[in-house]
């Protein structure tokens, strides 16, 4: 009971959209494809659905090769980022259409449609045409259609991206609950790390047509395989700086250094790339041996409860996420602190050398 990619790749007009990919998705799991736009999330989904045929490799569904199988013959449901419904049919007929095509009886269809409509809170609108609904209701109609199909594989391609903030939060908490009991494989594409963390399950970080890392969502978050995976799974992106490990010390900036603790202590001496997440940067010194950086403040963005500070440190652009509204002088020098326990060390080739010690403890 699983969907398996074996060396699947996709090339369109000489451009590689998907590099050879191996992936195993088990039934009853929520799988998040996380990556920036144009990273290949939608291409992967189209291959999973069977809308595109891979150039190389095989796709196995429950152990059977389904690589060239028609879309109609697969048990797949898909919801797009755009609100895609059949505009000429009523909401009821929209939701009912996949079941009717499967040859289900009218009473069966009616029961399933009403159940799905209740879940998606569409019951009062069953007689309307989809274009007479609000954006959120249109997308719920599309979700309801995917739900009644009872497909083994449900693909949700950024289903909440075009919705307003409130609706997105509401649906985001509903979707895992609604689909949990169905027992199918869920694939959910998103550009937002926050969404991946909220949905849980497994996460695959996707970058330039490659699946960089696949595993349980918290594991991928805490133990990024390499700098790319860490960059994808951090919003705002992870900050980096050059460090040199020499003896028991980590040297950085203008000849400053801190004692090496945790997993990094076992590393050989040399130059590493240190990465840390924006929310770990502090305006005050909280721990005794925190790393202190002298940075220049470029921009501050205040979201209400938080402040994003855009900093420059030795030619590297950093973003810090500070609690509360911070009143800071633009263009001025700003000292910031970082607990070394939050620092990931990456080797020169980008692979993870040592995870942050807080991640190991957790």
């Amino acid at each position: 009971m699983a969907l398996e990619f074996q060396g699947v790749s996709k090339v369109v007009n000489g451009q590689v959209h998907i590099h050879p990919t191996d992936l195993m998705l088990h039934s009853g799991t929520m799988n998040v494809l996380l990556g920036p736009t144009l990273s290949g999330k939608t291409s992967l989904m189209r291959l999973m659905a069977g809308l595109d045929v891979p150039n190389t490799g095989r796709i196995l569904w429950q152990g059977k090769d389904v690589t060239g199988m028609r879309v109609q013959d697969r048990k797949v449901a898909m919801v797009y980022q755009q609100f895609i419904n059949y505009p000429s049919m009523s909401v009821y007929d929209n939701i009912a259409s996949p079941m009717r095509l499967m040859g289900k009886s009218a009473t069966e269809v009616d029961k399933a449609v009403h159940k799905a409509a209740d879940l998606m809170r569409l019951s009062p609108f069953l007689d309307r045409k989809p274009l007479e609904l609000s954006g959120g209701q249109q997308q719920r109609c599309a979700l309801a259609r995917a739900l009644v199909k009872d497909a083994g594989l449900v693909l949700l391609d950024e289903p909440l991206a075009n919705l307003d903030y409130k609706l997105r939060e509401e649906l985001r908490s509903e979707i895992p609950k609604i689909f949990e009991e169905a027992g199918s494989i869920f694939v959910y594409a998103t550009t937002e790390p926050e969404e991946a963390l909220l949905l849980g399950g497994n996460t695959a970080t996707v970058w330039q047509g490659r699946v960089i890392q696949f595993g349980l969502t918290p594991d991928v978050y805490r133990h990024p395989l390499n700098a790319t995976s860490a960059r994808v799974f951090s919003d705002p992106p992870m900050n980096f700086l050059e460090v040199r490990k020499s003896g028991g010390r980590l040297e950085f900036g203008d000849g400053q250094s801190v004692a090496v603790t945790g997993p990094a202590a076992a590393l050989t001496d040399g130059i590493y790339r240190a990465g840390f997440r924006p929310n770990h940067l502090e305006l005050n010194q909280h721990v005794k041996d925190a790393m202190q950086f002298n940075t220049r403040l470029h921009v501050t963005e205040i979201t209400g409860s938080e402040t994003f500070v855009h900093l420059e440190h030795h030619g590297e652009r950093w973003v810090g996420l500070m609690h509360g509204v911070q009143d800071l002088t633009l263009g001025a020098d700003l000292p910031v602190w970082l607990d070394p326990a939050h620092v990931y060390l990456f080797a020169q080739d980008g692979s993870l050398a040592a995870p942050a010690s807080y991640a190991v403890a957790a």
Partner: protein, 274 residues
């Protein structure tokens, strides 16, 4: 104060509109006026409305088979032409809007160039070809000849409408389990019904008013009304009243078609490319 200019321009604008419509309708009014007069009145006096109102001209057309069969013939080949053109153009337009294949853009442009050549160019080859294969003086001959001009136009219009339908709807339908023919008929066609209406309108208009090909390719059995009208200079001179009545009856179908598709046309001009 601000409302005064509006009050001043309104009546003037209305006068312009009324004059414009009067001038536009004058020939049509005169045609109707003539059709309701006797020949003697038409030739002898100048009268703004019929002095001796008569429906004899219309009675002539509706009872004389050489007249009313002209309408029947025209309607038959126009209908055949509409069906053939749409049946051919719908899949072609779908292919152009959904797939990219070698030379698709050139082929699409070449379709339009078909519209650029005057029908007269094709009168001779069609006449010779149809005569030699025994299609001369049949309804299907005229219908086929007109598709040469109508299919490219229909493809052009329909492609614009189809391009406006997101490809994701096609894919969602396939995922839901629709086969292609079922998707095309049940889901896709209703979405582009305005486009089909607009395309049908233009096909009708071309085929209904086209004179040269339809006259060249027919003699007796499939003679269109336009040809009948232009050949009615008999030994007894011009039969003005009957000709005018025939003109009125020729305008009517076009006016009816426009009335029924008027909402689609407005929508069509905005959505499609036409």
């Amino acid at each position: 104060m601000a409302s005064i200019p509006a009050q001043r321009t309104r009546p003037r604008f209305n006068i312009v509109m009324v004059l414009y419509i009067l001038f536009m309708l004058l020939p049509i009014y005169w045609l109707i006026n003539m059709s309701l007069k006797t020949n003697a009145e038409i030739i002898s006096t100048f009268s703004l409305w019929p002095q001796n109102l008569t429906f004899a001209n219309y009675a002539t057309i509706l009872t004389d088979s050489s007249w009313y069969l002209g309408y029947v013939n025209s309607m038959i080949y126009v209908s055949i032409n509409m069906v053939i053109s749409l049946v051919v153009a719908l899949p072609a337009a779908y292919a152009f809007s959904r797939y990219s294949f070698m030379g698709d853009k050139h082929l699409f442009f070449w379709l339009l160039t078909n519209r650029m050549s005057p029908p007269a160019v094709f009168a001779l080859p069609f006449f010779q070809l149809y005569s030699s294969v025994g299609l001369f003086d049949t309804h299907i001959a005229v219908a086929l000849a007109h598709t040469l001009f109508n299919v490219p136009l229909a493809v052009w219009i329909l492609e614009g409408f189809m391009r406006g339908v997101p490809k994701e709807i096609d894919e969602t339908a396939y995922i839901d389990g629709y086969s292609f023919p079922r998707f095309f008929v049940r889901i896709f066609t209703p979405l582009i019904s305005s486009g089909i209406g607009v395309a049908a309108f233009f096909i009708f208009m071309f085929s209904w008013v086209e004179l040269l090909l339809s006259r060249t390719l027919t003699s007796v059995n499939a003679k269109p009304i336009a040809a009948v009208m232009t050949r009615t200079v008999s030994a007894s001179g011009m039969d003005w009243g009957v000709l005018a009545a025939a003109g009125v009856l020729t305008i009517l179908p076009g006016a009816l078609v426009i009335y029924f598709v008027r909402n689609h046309i407005a929508k069509g001009f905005a959505l499609g490319r036409v």
